[in-house]
Subunit: 212 residues, 4 copies
Amino acid sequence: MGEVSRGVTQERSRRRRERILDAAFHVFSGLGYRGAAVDEIARQAETSKGGVYFHFPTKESLFLELLRTTADRLVAKVEREAARESDPIARADVALWTVLSTFAGHRTMARLLLVDAIGAGPVFQAELERLHERFAGLIAAHLERAVEDGIIAPLDTATVAEAWFGALHEIVVRWLMASRPDVLERTYPTLRAVLLRGVGIDESRIAALPER
Amino acid sequence: MGEVSRGVTQERSRRRRERILDAAFHVFSGLGYRGAAVDEIARQAETSKGGVYFHFPTKESLFLELLRTTADRLVAKVEREAARESDPIARADVALWTVLSTFAGHRTMARLLLVDAIGAGPVFQAELERLHERFAGLIAAHLERAVEDGIIAPLDTATVAEAWFGALHEIVVRWLMASRPDVLERTYPTLRAVLLRGVGIDESRIAALPER
Amino acid sequence: MGEVSRGVTQERSRRRRERILDAAFHVFSGLGYRGAAVDEIARQAETSKGGVYFHFPTKESLFLELLRTTADRLVAKVEREAARESDPIARADVALWTVLSTFAGHRTMARLLLVDAIGAGPVFQAELERLHERFAGLIAAHLERAVEDGIIAPLDTATVAEAWFGALHEIVVRWLMASRPDVLERTYPTLRAVLLRGVGIDESRIAALPER
Amino acid sequence: MGEVSRGVTQERSRRRRERILDAAFHVFSGLGYRGAAVDEIARQAETSKGGVYFHFPTKESLFLELLRTTADRLVAKVEREAARESDPIARADVALWTVLSTFAGHRTMARLLLVDAIGAGPVFQAELERLHERFAGLIAAHLERAVEDGIIAPLDTATVAEAWFGALHEIVVRWLMASRPDVLERTYPTLRAVLLRGVGIDESRIAALPER
DNA sequence: AATGAATGAGGCTTCATTCAT
DNA sequence: GATGAATGAAGCCTCATTCAT
């Protein structure tokens, strides 16, 4: 087999792998980890059960890869967006907004990341914890920076970061589970104000932030 | 069969029903909805599978009843405690504290209410939503009262209530899932300050609240 | 439920269990351990897959029980028959004859015990070894007795017992695997003479044994 | 493609085939027929699954070829060694010793030949039978020669040959399956004496055989 | 009321074999 | 000749639910 055709084969395999990941994403999001059948994933990926197992040794490993890469993408996106701002408060604003609007635009992704992983078994506990930690850590880092810069008074940044993430999380999840989902972005101004005010940011600074 | 013996029988049946609920509570908390086997519940209730199915038509119904009664008890407890305070801010303080410390004292209950129900299938979505709504509603009611009393400025109480509950929820869940769980109550002062400050409560009023 | 009906239930359950063992015996004998499907066992036992798994936690456990009880029965039978004779040489004769004729009469049992268990996985190695050991031990005991009684000269009874059992085993297996199986019993006189002579029994004593 | 390069290619192909046979030997010996995966054989032969299937149409055919060639080699070796002796009794001694010591030195080969083939399915029954027949036939031929030479009295050589092979077989298999395998050769003197004496060889002749 | 045996659909995984490149 | 991706049948096992007693 020549270099070229081998490349073609690899490329096809890679695409198949992606198709499986896409299908798995869809099925997991819709039915949860336990409820998702490998058979159904194979069907939606237009391949066979064996095909799925050729690319992923286990249902679990498939889910884990999904969990990781999806989270990776979101975290990277948030950091990329936040890095554009120099003012710590503006950064926090951008970070919150990015998460909220990304979830709002990808309801299925939100389900996978925030809902399905819970209750999928102890193997995912660690991964989920890492996920929450990454987001909370992101927030905490910004808060600490703001404390160092003298913009806000010293406080338990870890706890506050958890609280912020929790507030965000709850609002997204409620939106996800609501039978009549309101526009997620509408809640943003209130959420932003409450959170920023909560760490002691001046009302004037909050008012100065761009409208969303 | 006489009146008396029927009474005795009914009483025994009621007790059996309670034993099943207790066992189910335990098993669901430990293994999640999907992971919990009816066999195991029956075993822990010292009865048979058939016994469980005599009292509950379905595994689902058993879980739902558990969800409802547990939530009922907690909501009632929170309202009872809050009613003792006349000042709206003190009430919010008491409510937050009650939830946090109750969860802290009943880790299993927290798991059941906050973690297991997710991913248990679409049937529980509605119930879970009602649960979150009840807690958020509780908070929202206090916030509205505070607005009416002129203690805080008008704001979107529904969204803020969700954010508050989310902050609380996240902190409890993180504590639940943490391998090395810190003392949950330790985070309370920070949480309280951030939340109250977030809705514009004077720093002096916050400082005046009792230590926890 | 009264004493009587409970007894009826237990009795039925016991019978079902036996039916499953019988079916398993049949299927294992015909197809070997790996080749035997639980589904097929259930079908032949006129029950369901779940029914099989109610009585036996595992395919393996089912096979093991079969192996053990079948061997138990045969060993017991051999010892019972041998105990009737007082002369050690006559005992050896009876023991050999009992094994050979029992196998001859129960071809399927022979297959299960001597053929199928091999290659059924490492779990059965121990069990099979125990089985061979039991038979070899039986023989060795008689040989030792004969040595003590001065009937045969001292020798390595363990090795000889293995050799005897091996000779027997091979002859049975060859008969089992032969496409055109001769009458197994026909080989007996030759086998008996060779084995007894091999440990130094007088030709006259051998000739004195009853014809078979 | 020229003559030369075709020759080179054929040579390479032959070598690959050998590598596959070696790997298959190793895997079958270790895991048994059913337990051996073609994937694993390909891996150990440093080729691909497709590669294996190019050289052998079937997993079964691969195993059969292995069975045959291995047996061929052993039978040839035994005959070669035996041919060196002129005395029939010495020949029998050499034959027994060759089999025993070859197995002792190649535990894996023994497993393949004596253990794995059983339970590998009905296809191998015939082959296995032929294998045992060849060995028994070898022994029987020597016995018949000894009868003709008047060294031993006439007897049913076929049955005796089976018994001899069985004794040998059992001792090897017990050694194979034993957790704490003794030195196989240690049992040889006893085995030899018992077998030879069993066909009526004079004690003096047995004593005259070389020590092993 | 209670028991526990029985059912059977459905789940995850393995693996011999095929085939396009 | 060789590769490795793909197929799909088949296997073992779990478990919610039913039902005769």
